[in-house]
């Protein structure tokens, strides 16, 4: 079960190779934040080229676009939302002392760390890293002769992705087992905080969706290294490039929900706490999430409407894609109405949370023009897609996580981040983000294709160069704001205003019963006992009723 009780831990075993889920979670969180800044800077670089072509070479531009995409999905969103918040909060919220497999947990972080090193290494090998888009479509990615970048860089890139998948799978096994097996008494499934449901469903989605891609990645590596023809086409030997697309997107679509669901989970915790009202309809959230999760496995080819699939199956995928908007709209209505009738305190966490929600509404709605198959003929591979996924993914990977950071910072570190800074941070982020992302919709409407080094070569796009310049300035200011946040974040860990109160936000869930920060093995000689629903706010005239209370463990004679 749990590892040794209070014994002397060396610095190495306490901070480096820690098996404590909170330390591991913080390791994920901090690595993820650094990679977010790094990925953002990469974007700033290629956006500078878009505003002022010639700043980069063609290969550099394509490589930066590739790494920006891969880093944001695999080295920022997943480690922070799953590895970071999942690890820190899951045992605390369910009353456990640690994860089910602490050693495996430690291994998962260090595998992830190695994957980060390999990734960065792959960018700097002679010949450069991979530059065929984060979607790694063959034959561009499979034919060493047409590589931009080197074969070594590409193989290292694929290896880094594989290691990251391995680490997340290890984490997933841990999360699923822990949530099933280690809930404290009274915490039945329908009493779990929504965040826990979301982590569970996300972990299951990841487990079942990533494995075909791993199979595909192995086939791709064989193509690159051994000259097989799974995806390559050469004279008489005809592989199928479209097969890769199927394998990739079969994973790719559930993957975005793997990221989305925990972020929505954070929003539920934040909205209920700062508006002092319960979730509008708990059951709707749980069921619609499960339905959306299941549906997410049958929408994948909406990325391939004009890419070599049978047009009749394209219509089927268009149907499922449009259908999936229904459980989501139900959930967003519930999430929105959670603040109705409340008494809202505009803390930085709430402002980021509400921004995330509002931007996600835009993102979700703009999925419909893409899911409608006839419109997608025009919009596929244009900036409209770029705008859509930034409004869905950025809001999740960045706005929600920052909201979560502000919210749980006192619990994790026993200190607070300055609230005035937080509000300015939120305002600037919102303004600069929209400045860069919203014009992209219009570029898409104008028919501007993606991954273009510059728009100046095309007559029908030349006149929109000023839009690129505007977007670039906004993007650079956005990244600069986050870099300032990085400094404030680290400053606050060591010198922020102390917060000794274990439950400063007066929240109901179990993690707020522990001291801040929680000690090793979380509960000391107490154990939480759950008697109530997770979001008992504004009930019977009481401000809030905590979900559980601490009870001292009666030591039995052995």
């Amino acid at each position: 079960m749990t590892e040794e009780h209070a014994h002397e831990q060396s610095f190495i075993s306490k901070y480096v190779f820690s098996k404590d889920h909170k330390t591991i979670g913080k390791q994920y969180l901090i690595t993820g934040i650094f990679m977010a800044i790094f990925g953002g800077v990469l974007a700033g670089l290629f956006r500078t080229n878009l505003a002022s072509p010639g700043f980069l070479t063609h290969e550099q531009y394509n490589a930066l676009v590739t790494y920006h995409g891969a880093i944001m999905f695999f080295w920022v969103a997943m480690p922070i939302l799953l590895g970071g918040f999942g690890n820190i909060l899951i045992p605390l919220m369910i009353g456990a002392r640690d994860m089910a497999f602490p050693t495996l947990n430690m291994l998962s972080y260090w595998t992830f760390f190695v994957s980060t090193v390999v990734l960065i290494l792959s960018m700097f090998v002679p010949g450069g890293g991979f530059s065929g888009g984060w979607t790694i479509y063959p034959p561009l990615s499979a034919n060493p002769e047409v590589f931009m970048g080197s074969q070594l860089g590409t193989v290292l890139f694929l290896l880094a992705v594989a290691l990251e998948f391995a680490s997340m799978l290890m984490g997933g096994v841990n999360f699923i087992t822990t949530i099933f097996v280690m809930r404290v008494k009274g915490l039945s499934f329908m009493k779990l905080p929504i965040f826990i449901w979301m982590e569970l469903i996300a972990s299951l989605l990841f487990l079942f969706s990533v494995t075909p891609l791993i199979a595909g990645a192995i086939m791709l590596l064989l193509d690159i290294l051994l000259g097989t023809h799974f995806f390559r086409v050469e004279a008489q030997k005809v592989g199928d490039p479209v097969l890769w697309q199927h394998l990739f997107w079969f994973f790719g679509h559930p993957e975005v929900y793997v990221i989305l669901f925990p972020a929505l989970g954070i929003l539920y915790e934040v909205f209920t706490t700062y508006s002092r009202r319960p979730v509008f309809s708990y059951k709707t959230v749980v069921y619609s999430t499960i339905v959306a999760g299941v549906l997410s496995f049958i929408v994948w080819a909406h990325h391939q409407f004009v890419a070599g699939i049978n047009p009749i199956s394209a219509m089927a995928f268009s149907l499922t894609t449009i259908l999936i908007s229904i459980p989501f709209s139900m959930q967003l209505v519930v999430l929105g109405l959670t603040i109705a009738g409340g008494s809202i305190r505009f803390t930085p966490a709430f402002i980021f949370g509400i921004s995330a929600f509002a931007m996600f509404v835009i993102g979700g709605l703009t999925g419909l023009p893409l899911g409608a198959v006839a419109a997608d003929i025009y919009f596929h591979d244009t900036y409209f897609v770029v705008a859509h996924f930034h409004y869905t993914v950025f809001t999740i990977a960045v706005l929600s996580t920052i909201s979560g950071i502000y919210h749980w910072f006192p619990k994790m570190f026993g200190r607070k981040i300055n609230e005035t800074f937080g509000k300015i941070h939120a305002f600037l982020t919102l303004v600069f983000y929209n400045g860069f992302a919203f014009p992209a919709f219009f570029l898409g409407l104008a028919g501007h294709p993606r991954r273009y080094y510059t728009a100046l070569e095309l007559g029908y796009l030349r006149k929109y160069q000023w839009v690129h310049e505007f977007m670039t300035i906004s993007a650079i200011l956005l990244i600069a704001t986050q870099i300032v946040f990085l400094f404030v974040f680290f400053y606050s860990i060591f010198a922020g205003k102390e917060e000794k109160e274990p439950n400063p936000w007066k929240s109901t869930t179990l993690e707020w019963l522990t001291p801040s920060p929680p000690p090793h093995l979380n509960w000391g000689s107490y154990v939480p006992v759950v008697e109530n629903e997770p979001y008992e706010y504004a009930k019977n005239g009481r401000d809030f009723i905590p979900q559980g209370r601490l009870v001292e463990i009666k030591k039995k004679e052995v």
């Binding site: 749990t2 699923i176 099933f180 008494k185 494995t211 000259g227 097989t228 052995v558």
Partner: protein, 197 residues
């Protein structure tokens, strides 16, 4: 870790935590296995799809050696048998017998890999390389990954053997055996797909 601390934890868990009928190591292992099933399943499904569209699959597959692979099948099945015997002895508490049977299972793994090595060398020598055609591409891909899993399984068995010297845990033996059975069952799909046609 002293035994009294373990007992306190066990009591604490039973009294204060929701009961769940499956021991968590087994549950976690099945979660992991379900992912593995989809990887191998995905590859096998892809192989079947390609097999249906490429008529020269059958011609190429006559060059695989049924005899060698039948021996390998027998080796794997024996390994499964010894793994089951190891588990039975673990439950009965006969830990030296456990080490014996685990050792035999690891030996089965090494035998399988050696035979596979010989087989591959023969085939490559005859010019049947992965880039030759669709059949050989899948053959090397899938049997290669399966072989890598057998190797991993062998290491797992050895690891469990070492671990048991520290702590006598029945679940470790059980999970090692479970992994072996999985590798075995996958082989039972691969064998007809590539050798018996």
């Amino acid at each position: 870790m002293s035994s009294s601390e373990t007992r306190v934890e066990e009591i604490e868990h039973k009294e204060y935590y929701e009961s769940f009928s499956v021991p968590f190591q087994r549950f976690g292992f099945w979660v992991f296995l379900s992912g593995e099933i989809i990887i191998l399943g995905g590859l096998v499904a892809a192989a079947i799809l390609f097999r249906l569209s490429y008529p020269n699959w059958f011609e190429s597959s006559t060059y695989t050696n049924v005899i060698i692979s039948s021996i390998n099948t027998f080796v794997l099945l024996t390994g499964s048998l010894t793994a089951v015997l190891a588990h039975k002895n673990a439950v009965d508490g006969k830990w030296d017998k456990v080490q014996l049977f685990l050792g035999l299972t690891a030996l089965a793994g090494l035998t399988f890999i050696s035979i596979k090595f010989i087989e591959y060398s023969r085939e490559i020598h005859h010019g049947f390389v992965p880039s030759k055609d669709v059949f050989w591409m899948f053959y090397y891909g899938i049997t290669g990954i399966h072989g890598a899993h057998v190797l991993a399984g062998t290491f797992i068995i050895l690891g469990v053997m070492l671990f048991l010297k520290k702590k006598k845990l029945v679940e470790a033996v059980e999970n090692a055996g479970l992994y072996w059975h999985f590798v075995d069952i996958v082989w039972l799909y691969i064998f007809p797909l590539f050798y018996l046609t």
